[in-house]
Symmetry: C2
Subunit: 308 residues, 2 copies
Amino acid sequence: MKPFNVTILGCGSATPSKMRNPSAQIINIHDKLIMFDCAEGTQIQMRRFYIKNNRINHIFISHLHGDHYLGLMGLLFTYHLFGRKVDLHIHAPKDLRQIIEIQLNVSNSVLCYSLIFHELTPDKLLLVLETKTFDIYSFQLKHSIPTWGFIVKEKDTGLKVNKDFIKQESPSFTEIQEIKMGKDYVNTKGILFKNHEITIAGDKLRSYAYCTDTLYDEDIIPYIENVNLLYHEATFAHDFVEVAHNKFHSTASEAAVMALKANAYQLVIGHFSARYEVLMPLLAEAKVIFENTILAEDGLKIEVSCPC
Amino acid sequence: MKPFNVTILGCGSATPSKMRNPSAQIINIHDKLIMFDCAEGTQIQMRRFYIKNNRINHIFISHLHGDHYLGLMGLLFTYHLFGRKVDLHIHAPKDLRQIIEIQLNVSNSVLCYSLIFHELTPDKLLLVLETKTFDIYSFQLKHSIPTWGFIVKEKDTGLKVNKDFIKQESPSFTEIQEIKMGKDYVNTKGILFKNHEITIAGDKLRSYAYCTDTLYDEDIIPYIENVNLLYHEATFAHDFVEVAHNKFHSTASEAAVMALKANAYQLVIGHFSARYEVLMPLLAEAKVIFENTILAEDGLKIEVSCPC
């Protein structure tokens, strides 16, 4: 099975605390690294958790509250300093472009790599990155300023072809692609191999959704339904539900209800208020509603997995 | 003697490294905290080194390269989050105002405290902060973009009045001020106390100069002459003098020559390139020229002291 995992670089909210850095995470999907959010200190967290920053080509910024993007300029300058050559794609709310440009201008900086800006738009569910083996979609969340969630989905790349058969018959690349799509195979001696004899089903398709910052919002359920791993913010425990709603945030219980209603396989809660040194009460209240819940933690690497 | 010391929060250049954070430092002068530069991660460094950030009312930004100011927005948001009430003064190149304003605007933030912006201007030596017991002046450095150095100078607050005399005669506050300025004292019984009998000389006046980033530049000598503690950048060792000059930086040897020619008492070198894990060669080459040199180090607290 190809790699698909999430490394949390920061799961605190609002300000760096001694327990946790603000939002940032790295998704390793099929050995491509994608960044979701980039709070102040993210570069330092990457070094701390052995993430190779030169393998990141796409950065997604959910919204323009400082605790989700203030580490980006430093990272852009660092890429420049180390002579990056590869294009860097930023997917973000439109105003970030101006914030970047003005800071490049005042420092007389002309980056040595191409920065390609993709403006997030208020569509319901929009394909924002398409690759051969996975896609990323954006959708809007309900927060005090325009905010987006993201879902990363593996693509169906067809059946798996039996390795012994490949060794024995040496089919061409094109022939393998045809077999993966369901075709039978006839070798040079005219012997027929029925498709079901030389293939097995492909791996189950996995998906990961990132939902922060947001009120509890059932409108997003169609976009994240059946997701394997759901990261949902849980800034507060449910006894602070009024505070949470006033600040356009969710509680741990609400995150769990969302996971339950969306039929997620696993829930990871994060974006914790700095008021919580101990997070067990948040985990406990979520687990009552949705058992397969874990707590985000800086440095934690979570495999995106399927039900057995 | 009143406190006057400098705590280094970051002494690296360009990018955070595992050895050191980029530029920021706290000057404690007479129990007032002043910040010079505010790189990404400065908030975290303040927590690490037990600096109470709510005691800072003035922040000076030398120039708009990211490694000198990218931690400022996060700090401004943190002050807001914790309900700061006291005015905060930012002394910085003019474009920083726009960089701050746009980031407040996109996040719909109206700070709960007053942010008072003081634009640095290209004067030779300009008084930018005046208090009862110390002053701060700015002056221009020679870097690739407009850059300022700063010097903090204690003020002459007069003679010290003998404590036993005060206990015995209980002079009024106004009378004490007059004695400090050189007047004699006559008590209610008509007894004359000659000024020299009831006073001793005040403490020697101390000063601290912050010079980063800059080429070696003798034009600044008149501004920093006889300074007690000189922080001068030494981004490179002298075998990299060409690289240093191409990047508008100084070498450790040049920093030492500057300390010597300016008749400084002590030199602290900093703003080290990330290429140097070991700094002893930089210290050695500076000490050959100017013996009383020390290396900056994150967390180091340096007393601004006088020759014995």
